[in-house]
Symmetry: C2
Subunit: 691 residues, 2 copies
Amino acid sequence: MARQARNWLIPSALVLFLCVFLLASRPFYSHSNDALPEAKVAQSRCQAPRKNIWADLNDAEADGLLEFLYTKPNDLNLTRVDNATTWDNHIALVEVLPPNKTDALEFLQSNAAPQRWARVVINQGATDKAGIVQYMVGPLPASEDTQILPLTYLYNSGRNFVRNPLPDFESIVGWFSDLGEEVSDMIKDLLGEVVNPGHIANAPPLLALARPAAWENDTISSWASINSPGVRFDAWSLMAQGLYCRFTISGRDSSKWKINEWYYNGIMYNSTESFRDAWKSGKVEKLPPNRDGSWTASEPLAKGLPDRDMNAPVMIQPEGSRYKIDVEENFISWMGFEFFFSWMQATAVSIWDVKFRGDRVAYEFGLQEAIAHYAGRDPMQVGMVWMDSLFGMGFNSYELVPGYDCPSYATYLNASFHQGESTITRKNALCVFEYTADSALQRHTTPTHLTISRNNYLVVRWVSTVGNYDYTFDYIFYLDGTIEVKVRASGYIFGAYNQLERTRTEHATELSKRGEVPEYEYGYQVHDLVASSMHDHEINFKADLDIAGSENTLYRVSVEQRDHKYSFEDFSRRTMHLKHTPVETETGLDWPTNAGEMFVVLNNESTNAWGEKRGYRIAPGTGMGAPTRLTMEDSTALAKSAKWAERNLWVLRQKDTERKSTSEYNSMEPKDPLIDFGKMVDGEDVRQKDL
Amino acid sequence: MARQARNWLIPSALVLFLCVFLLASRPFYSHSNDALPEAKVAQSRCQAPRKNIWADLNDAEADGLLEFLYTKPNDLNLTRVDNATTWDNHIALVEVLPPNKTDALEFLQSNAAPQRWARVVINQGATDKAGIVQYMVGPLPASEDTQILPLTYLYNSGRNFVRNPLPDFESIVGWFSDLGEEVSDMIKDLLGEVVNPGHIANAPPLLALARPAAWENDTISSWASINSPGVRFDAWSLMAQGLYCRFTISGRDSSKWKINEWYYNGIMYNSTESFRDAWKSGKVEKLPPNRDGSWTASEPLAKGLPDRDMNAPVMIQPEGSRYKIDVEENFISWMGFEFFFSWMQATAVSIWDVKFRGDRVAYEFGLQEAIAHYAGRDPMQVGMVWMDSLFGMGFNSYELVPGYDCPSYATYLNASFHQGESTITRKNALCVFEYTADSALQRHTTPTHLTISRNNYLVVRWVSTVGNYDYTFDYIFYLDGTIEVKVRASGYIFGAYNQLERTRTEHATELSKRGEVPEYEYGYQVHDLVASSMHDHEINFKADLDIAGSENTLYRVSVEQRDHKYSFEDFSRRTMHLKHTPVETETGLDWPTNAGEMFVVLNNESTNAWGEKRGYRIAPGTGMGAPTRLTMEDSTALAKSAKWAERNLWVLRQKDTERKSTSEYNSMEPKDPLIDFGKMVDGEDVRQKDL
């Protein structure tokens, strides 16, 4: 069962995201890659101008690394994954440790390849304080010079360790099962109808969905919502039943773990015993069951539309692709753009050394983190916040659907990851395609002629399915040199159990006193007993622009109202003008009200033919309004783990030691995270620096 | 020449937008419709469920109306357009006066068609105070009951007349020609090289582009920029030469008109004489000429890209259209949406009686106005503001290019207008098509299956080419019920003559004193002597939503940070919640910072199956950030003519007398416009009212 459990939750992801309750027997969330078709590879290959130094370890490198770790004596005290018990150390994952920019830039100038190093993540079970520990190993391939060093230089906490109950995963599952047994009579009475409603063999009858929690005083304490798995398993996040429990895991001895409280129908019970006493004496008023059914099926909503069965318009590529790909080096070229890309397990796809018409415009664009921060009035929703790099936005990138996720003529590429001691390949996980917008890039009608240009663009896309959510991520390249990152969210919401009529009654009096309309405060009712739970999505991308060289300055160009008397007029006029202000020190910026300010990265030392500085504007992108920052400052649930989410745009100096805005393990110790982004913003001068 | 002049500028457009200078001989901006191909009509026709009561007058109605006006005695004192002189009254245009909503709603319920009325716009030259006067004539077809009434009920000024020098257009052209003769030696010396640089026969050698101006104290006073027409005529808005003059037109006697000032190279000359004196004595320092050339050609920018000549991806419609059109009634149906549309000369396309799955969700969506408000430091740019309904955003909708403006499989429809006493048809001016987005509408990967839906949408599109600008307007309909209006601007910018190096020198000292960087304050240098001129675009659409009936309420749903101690926790938590606040009285709203507020139009009396009120959210749409409001409040150039531009969204009660937010003649009397939007916002209760 150990292997299954590890496959079920990715090893690094155990903050008790999904716990199988009552009758946990086998993983229900697993992906088989066997049945996937072969990746379709572009007919138009090309040769990258140089090696991709950011690429993940290939299989030979990974194998060599494992051999090195197991043959050369070291202090890691590793046990092979297949033999590891709860009280052993084993390898969670290995992947490339990308080169420092300092070294990479040298390579880009001289072609002197930087050393290859690996990041090795170990599940440490062999000590009392179980957790996750990280090392850097290199240079590779292994030689006399190869070292194993604590990976601390990327983490401004100075640590390479986070505490985590992962090694005790089986114990936790077992403990929950025992607990399930203990309360099964009560649960069956209260929730009977929604216990394994799909009658699926070997399926978990109920799910205990716990919200993230951190060690504090040698204890992890978290609330779990008891959800029905739904009839088809896929709507579990809509299947809250209004029953919640708080549990405590202290140390590694499961006999000391306990359920602290039960919360049901608005009433708190301070122990399982007091909950049972109330239930036995008939004092627990049953909530209506939140039943799964056809309403959770993601089928077309409207029936009977006569034209629905006709084929919709479809994009074709009559002459083959106009982009070129070097599949070995993950290099893409299209209409003057050239760039490399790489996969990481936590953060999926980054692009590197982005050139437009021969000039490097960016060293790196890379996804860092995606947060969903909820609010609500039950113990689950109120503290729920997911930081999805923990679950692996790269690792959880599954097969794309040709003709739906991307055009059928797109090029589909595989991604591979080294987890445990094996290689896991996600077939057709990335697509590359050119598309033609429904409107022109440029047009003008004149009396004598008309000019018009099609708006073609190149998309590099993958989808990360992290539990209930599917994020579709795009890097998009436009003919005018614009580069856009775009994120779309789909999947199932994380619903809250809610009775709208009850809410209205309860709140009506209080609210009407304040002259407000009595409404549920955290969302809208979307089914009989389910309310949408309001939540903020914050997605963080790193953009390391290099405009005509690495030394750049960020200007705020503001559009300001102006009262001015011009020399050729005899009155003062109300008009407007531009004001250019360089940002002097590291800071966070917000998208301005009324687009009244533009953020432009310039190189002060480089001017174009007409004397203007060369630069790139940073804009909110094309979507629904401007992307948002977190509604709250100092969120209780986030603590210090994601200070980047509080502003829209940050400008910082590039440093080899500040490569990432966050670590995927930040949510495990939010009050003392591996990387505290807030500490990076430390007043350094950012004028004509590498940003 | 009278006819030509009238064709060249649309009759109502004479705020001296383009004046041919020196040798004005014939119009250079005219469109021939003869060569256009026949409109392609959808293979999928349908029958509208009822008559389109908003449609423009058909030819029979227009002919009957003209006959009525010329045969039945009246006080209009009309002269046939072909015979009209400067001192006659003639018909500028006739079009439908759409029914009042009160009557239309009755029709939609009972099918009792409202009366047909026409709006008749007359160029009034037969009096000392020349101008434009409007009448309403109906019911049509003409009968004993048909009346001619001043059209005042739509104008909160109470007037149906605006003063305008239009009847004197020929005199103005003649006066400018004479003036050109008078100064031709000086002009040829200063600007010789750019005088008719294309050597095109019968072309105007130079253009005097005047900015809008209004009558004040019986006088129109405006600045004009002397521009080169460019070698191909289409880049005239980039061809400023740094020479400007201010002229005054007082009354109707051209002998009393005069040039007040010349402004050249930063120096003001108080009369033509003083300018000539300075020139003769060699005191006028010549500015370098702003030459047209290949740089103004809108050709592909990049050459030599190897894949450029391959065909790009293209959308096809393999099984024909899934939308249905009633071409006679201008009715469209697609995937549960049904609506009518109509053309107006000033404001192009409105859509009416919009239903989604059988329920009316909107009575009307209609373009009202498009403003471009400039700023700059020369006499032209500093006061330049265009309100494009004046030029006719409907009338200036020309042929769309299949495969570029819209897919080649789109349905292309003609538009017709009654100007003067003729019918002018714009072939293929509107396109309707379905498109498939490059990404899915919905997707979710589960362990056992995957669901995904294509994102198809319907577009209704036209392009208004108003001088240098091409606006592409879309009404877009999505499968989830969303309706979007979208506007894209292309064409040529209105450039300012600017010498960047000189700007730097002049301003450097002053700016560096204030610690600022010396930059041009109004744009960026885009060529040797041309700077982009900063300008705000404001586009106003009317949305008359009817959600489950006409009585609706607009709620502000705000996402607020909240500190709260929940009953099941022992500490106060920083989280967030929603707050619903109805808007009580007519007001303007701005898109909120950080998307921290949603605007939702609800019907308080109608709830869905789960007890939530039915409604539509009003959001900024999909584009670059949120659409902006005007940077300035109380712009000098706009005065009271466009108060709507100062906020993003206005909520007002629907009134038959407040049908439009502006009149196309507002820019002729900005201080006392026909419609002052500001006066409409007068504190009326908007809770559960027709909004």
